[in-house]
């Protein structure tokens, strides 16, 4: 009655229609007539777009030369970017002192690499370097002191200023965001209300109004004679703005930590701050890293708005270039260049955050 199979059936390769190029094409591009049409239309669109794009940016573009007259091609005139490259990167920072910025970049890159990558297991010292030593170092390096000549912040500009704005704001926004997030979850109604009020107020208004306030109205609020550098005011505005967003991100992380963690910590005798610092925050921050990186990306893009208060970040330097008498009519090149620079940074960060998310995810599954 029983039917028994004794011989093992061999493992066969799948039919050709399933694998290899043909299988892939069949499954991904031509699985039915509707898909086939979609594929063909898309291919056409891609072809058109790519040929226009490559034609404009590479084939018909001009790379060599130094003046407007060298732009003879029908495509982009990259000479424009090249000729003003120094300004685009450093603003009016004195040429003789630009090495200082480059040193800062290198140190920052090394620090970031050590902290973010997996090369070193114990992140304590790199982190101390990056978050404590480096900022102080940069202050003197960029601004002057210890024998380095002073460079006024009004001379800072270009990509350099963009990076300064972005990194300082995030550096301030993170701790402030943590405080606000804890405040918003506090049991004390007054503290909670103040934090909620601040967060919602800031999140409810456009950044440019905040910047506008910081840049021109702040002195009205201060006693006469008390005044800050324009850059500092922009930094304060951006930091407060991103702190509010950061607070919400971190609150999300805090909410994801089960209540039991706090209870366990308490039952072991840890106080509120010990439990927060040793147990809750490390976990909450870890799971919110991807979201924090996303906030950072948003912040980084928002630095372009300082153009509205007259700081010479990358976009405004390029923009003033496009209105330079010698380079009129090259707005497209300028904007494409700015777009490309921002894209590289932001896309890099978003990839990093995805990589991290996957890493944390598998780590969690262990």
């Amino acid at each position: 009655m029983a039917i028994v199979k004794t011989e093992r059936h061999p493992e066969l390769p799948p039919p050709v229609s399933q694998t290899g190029v043909i299988g892939w094409l069949r499954q991904n591009l031509f699985s039915n007539w509707w898909n086939t049409i979609l594929t063909l239309v898309s291919l056409y669109v891609v072809w058109e777009a790519m040929s226009a794009l490559i034609g404009y940016t590479i084939i018909n573009a001009n790379f060599a030369g130094t003046t407007r007259e060298d732009c003879t091609g029908t495509g982009a005139c990259w000479v424009f970017i090249k000729a003003r490259f120094g300004q685009n990167m450093y603003g009016f920072y004195p040429e003789a002192e630009r090495w200082r910025i480059n040193v800062g970049y290198v140190l920052g890159a090394v620090g970031l690499f050590l902290v973010l990558s997996d090369v070193i297991k114990d992140k304590k010292w790199p982190a101390v370097f990056l978050f404590v030593v480096y900022p102080i170092l940069c202050y003197f390096l960029f601004y002057g002191g210890f024998g380095l000549p002073k460079v006024e912040t009004s001379e800072w500009g270009g990509l350099f200023l963009t990076l300064v704005l972005a990194s300082v704001s995030i550096f301030v926004a993170l701790p402030l965001g943590i405080v606000l997030a804890l405040g918003r979850r506090s049991d004390m109604p007054v503290v909670r209300m103040v934090c909620v009020g601040f967060i919602e107020l800031i999140r409810g208004v456009p950044l440019i109004t905040v910047l506008f306030m910081a840049s021109v109205m702040l002195p009205l609020f201060l006693p006469e004679g008390m005044n800050f550098d324009k850059l500092i005011r922009a930094l304060v505005g951006m930091s407060l703005f991103s702190a509010a967003y950061m607070a919400e991100v971190i609150r999300g992380g805090l909410q994801a930590i089960p209540k039991g963690q706090m209870e366990a910590a308490k039952s072991l005798g840890l106080g509120y701050w010990q439990a927060m610092g040793l147990i809750i925050l490390p976990q909450a921050l870890k799971i919110s890293i991807p979201a924090i990186v996303n906030t950072f990306i948003g912040l980084f893009k928002d630095t372009t708005l300082v153009i509205i208060i007259g700081l010479l970040d990358l976009l405004s330097v390029i923009k003033s270039g496009t209105t330079d008498k010698n380079w009129l009519g090259l707005a497209t090149e300028g904007y494409v260049f700015v777009a490309a620079v921002f894209w590289v940074f932001c896309f890099g960060m978003s990839r990093y955050s995805i990589w991290l998310e996957n890493k944390l995810h598998t780590g969690h599954k262990r």
């Binding site: 009655m1 029983a2 199979k5 093992r8 059936h9 390769p13 799948p14």
Partner: protein, 257 residues
């Protein structure tokens, strides 16, 4: 295909037929040369170690997965890429999943009437009456207006069974219907299935509930490594397994139980 046509079918007593069926996931040969004939009214239990392809096989039967070689004939209709045939077969075949897969945004009653209304174009009143009938049959008419999230696992699984039955399928497939349930809930679901079986429904059931297999199965099928290794009536299967692998498998699960 109406019933008259079906009656004239010479294979009328065959509900499902798999002939030399193969399936690959990418490079991985997951089902190898499956041959199986299920007669109308037959109750079949499929068991085998994890990863042996049990779920894949029954999912091929209502085309939740595509097979690449061989034939699958359900109710006289061969499964091909033809959308119409797939629809026809899916209406004939009900399926119950391990994780119930109830629609959480609809009430129990709406879960049950959704397909009849939209697929069979049954008037709502009628569909609801039928649904209540089946909900009574699985003994939870009083839960009709709750949402799935408000029910226990066992109740949810019974709703899932009722939902399938509302489409009047001629064949039911079960994929480990009790393995996500707490022990005290398993029996209520098994009872429902047993009562179905007693009504003569054609059933293929992937399960490790050996008690159930012994009670209702006409045939037990043992799969391993993507192949059907052994088929036998339950008493023969449990008492006198032929293949080594079957013996090993049985010794494990009986030891655990």
């Amino acid at each position: 295909m109406n019933n008259a046509a079906k009656a004239s079918n010479k294979q009328d007593d065959i509900a499902i037929q798999l002939i030399g069926m193969h399936k690959w996931y990418g490079e991985f040969h997951v089902l190898r040369d499956i041959n199986l004939t299920v007669n109308r009214g037959e109750r079949i239990v499929v068991c085998g170690p994890s990863g042996s392809g049990k779920s894949t096989m029954i999912r091929c039967i209502n085309r939740l997965e595509e097979h690449q070689q061989g034939q699958i004939i359900v109710d006289g209709i061969e499964l091909t890429n033809d959308v119409k045939k797939i629809d026809e077969i899916r209406r004939e075949v009900g399926m119950v999943f391990q994780h119930f897969n109830l629609f959480p945004h609809l009430t129990v009653l709406e879960n049950c009437t959704l397909a009849p209304i939209w697929v069979r174009k049954t008037p709502k009143k009628e569909a609801e009456a039928t649904a209540m009938q089946f909900l009574e049959r699985v003994k939870i008419p009083e839960q009709a207006h709750k949402y799935p999230g408000q029910l226990s696992g066992g109740q949810q699984q019974r709703v899932a069974i009722a939902r399938s039955l509302c489409m009047n399928p001629r064949i039911m497939l079960f994929d480990e219907p009790t393995s996500a349930l707490d022990p005290e809930m398993i029996s209520e679901v098994l009872d429902t299935m047993i009562s179905l079986a007693e009504d003569g429904m054609t059933m293929i059931c992937v399960t490790h509930e050996m008690g159930f297999a012994k009670t209702v199965a006409d045939r037990v099928i043992f799969m391993d490594g993507g192949e059907i290794i052994e088929q036998a009536p339950p008493q023969e299967f449990f008492e006198n397994p032929q293949s080594e692998r079957t013996q090993l498998f049985l010794s494990q699960i009986l030891h655990n139980a």
